[in-house]
């Protein structure tokens, strides 16, 4: 048994889960702050633990930025009454939040968030990815499409019409976008010739970011991932203005929080996928950052680069929410099936022909 592998895997899992949950918590804050700025407001700037005012400059500043808000929100979710309405289908009602959070968390496992960490001769060099799967992309697509079951189950289990509508919309939406999303990645696979995400990043460090080779793929992938994560303009399953809260109308307390976490984890993993597939993952084309790290500092810097790129896409996710009104149900279908699917197919064909001419 390889103890080194087991221990380091556990450590990596702990760190990644911690970082992702932290990112999720603070992306909620970012969402509220950015929304506020766009709407000429200030955003959360009051919440603070009692000791914050005794810290000289930093305390009031952090309060002003709302840095303690996620802690208060988390605490609130934990202590709220976990209410189960009468008439729900209990098993599915309990199952749905789990089904929705588990795939969202599992996707992160295959994403390389850094090159390697050289930790000296005894500990060896550790790869900065939890599972370096050769079927990385297929694994992510498999899991991401699992996420919809949570939503559909929630809609079905709640025994109420608004969640039911949300569930139906979600399933239809997922089917129409999953295909375009899968198709949009095929040109990437054609160009790189590998399904392993680490190898895709490796290819990009040699040849430049894939967004330059397959920009259309990137656009389709991005739009599809907005639809996948139920973000505006494709937030039909939630649609606060139409469906009360959509699939999670009947949920409260930690069960609701799990849906919330799942949505934001999905955003994190979608951003991570975009960064990995199209924007070179942890690489930067200067200062020798596009090669696997030789020292610990470089390794850490590359993790930071990855996180920064990820945060950029998170901001885009949040920003786009205030740019567009929600698509209508039929417009969404139209866009998925009649616009993006043919476009993705044409993109595959063009890329294939281009590669064939070049070879």
């Amino acid at each position: 048994m390889n103890w080194n592998f087991i221990i380091f895997s556990l450590v990596k899992i702990a760190i990644v889960v911690g970082v992702v949950q932290g990112l999720v918590a603070y992306s909620v804050l970012a969402e509220r702050k950015i929304s506020a700025w766009i709407q000429d407001r200030v955003g959360p700037n009051r919440t603070a633990p009692p000791f914050a005012k005794y810290i000289p400059v930093l305390g009031p500043l952090l309060t002003r930025w709302g840095m303690f808000q996620p802690l208060a929100d988390g605490l609130k979710f934990l202590f709220k009454e976990d209410f189960t309405p009468a008439g729900v289908k209990k098993i599915y009602f309990w199952l749905a939040p789990m089904v929705s959070i588990i795939p969202a968390m599992l996707v992160i496992a295959v994403i390389p968030f850094g090159s390697v960490m050289p930790l000296g001769s005894t500990l060896g060099t550790q790869k900065m990815v939890i599972a370096d799967l050769n079927v990385g992309i297929l694994y992510t697509f498999g899991l991401v499409s699992m996420g919809v079951y949570g939503i559909v189950l929630a809609g079905y289990a709640a025994n109420s019409k608004y969640p039911f509508f949300g569930g139906i919309r979600s399933s239809a939406q997922m089917i129409s976008y999953e295909i375009s999303m899968g198709m949009s990645v095929i040109p990437v696979l054609l160009i790189v010739g590998n399904l392993n995400l680490s190898q895709i990043i490796g290819w990009q460090s040699g040849h430049g970011w894939l967004v330059m080779y397959a920009p259309l793929s990137f656009i389709i992938f991005m739009v599809a991932s907005f639809a996948e994560t139920n973000r505006t303009p494709f937030d039909l399953p939630e649609a606060e203005t139409e469906l009360v809260g959509g699939y999670h109308t009947e949920y409260s307390s930690m069960k609701f929080a799990l849906f919330f976490l799942a949505e934001y984890s999905n955003m994190v993993s979608s951003s991570a996928m975009m960064v990995t597939l199209f924007f070179g993952g942890w690489t930067l084309p200067f200062w020798g950052l596009n090669l696997p790290a030789q020292s610990l500092v470089m390794g850490l810097v590359q993790v930071l680069v990855f996180l920064l790129k990820l945060c950029f896409f998170m901001v885009v996710f949040i920003w786009v929410r205030w740019m567009f009104p929600r698509f209508r149900y039929d417009q969404l279908m139209d866009l998925g099936w009649r616009r993006f699917l043919p476009l993705a197919l044409a993109n595959i064909l063009i890329t294939a022909i281009w590669l064939w001419i070049r070879s």
Partner: protein
Amino acid sequence: MAITVNRKPLTFWEKLYLPAIVGGLKVTTKHAWGTLFQGKKVTMEYPEQKWTVPTGYRGAPYLVKDQDGDTKCVSCQLCEFVCPPKAIRITPPGDSGLKADRANAEKMPLEFEINMLRCIYCGFCQEVCPEEAIFLQKDYSLTGLSREELIYNKEKLLALGGVSPGIQKWKHKLEEAKEQESFPVKV
């Protein structure tokens, strides 16, 4: 009768959603930039910043003193009777009661209570008062931890009210009456 609305079909350019995307980008960026760096936020951070109360605002009614610091109220109880929600309760001094502060007044209330939870800020008390002893002032945020705390007594009302802006009895009533004789009415 059904009216057919003429809908213009979208042009190819519009169908691409690109103008909409650019427009959305422009608007959101402009607003975020304005709020972040130019201080163009439209909200007011309430407990620290407060709005300026306009003149003629009807806030909480308080009792006022005259120029000598004496109670103006003569316990006539008109305000108590006119008060629509019955928020005012006056205890008159009675036969052998309290003498007024002022020389030229007969009496003053033994106790004057306004229940601020009942008060609807209508201003009838101010309007009816023959002595100009009660005025709706600019306080609008009255809070307390119990119901009893929000029943203000005479002492508290006098302390909060301050000295009246109109010192001379009847002068303002007279001016008001004169102004109402000319048309159009200014007041």
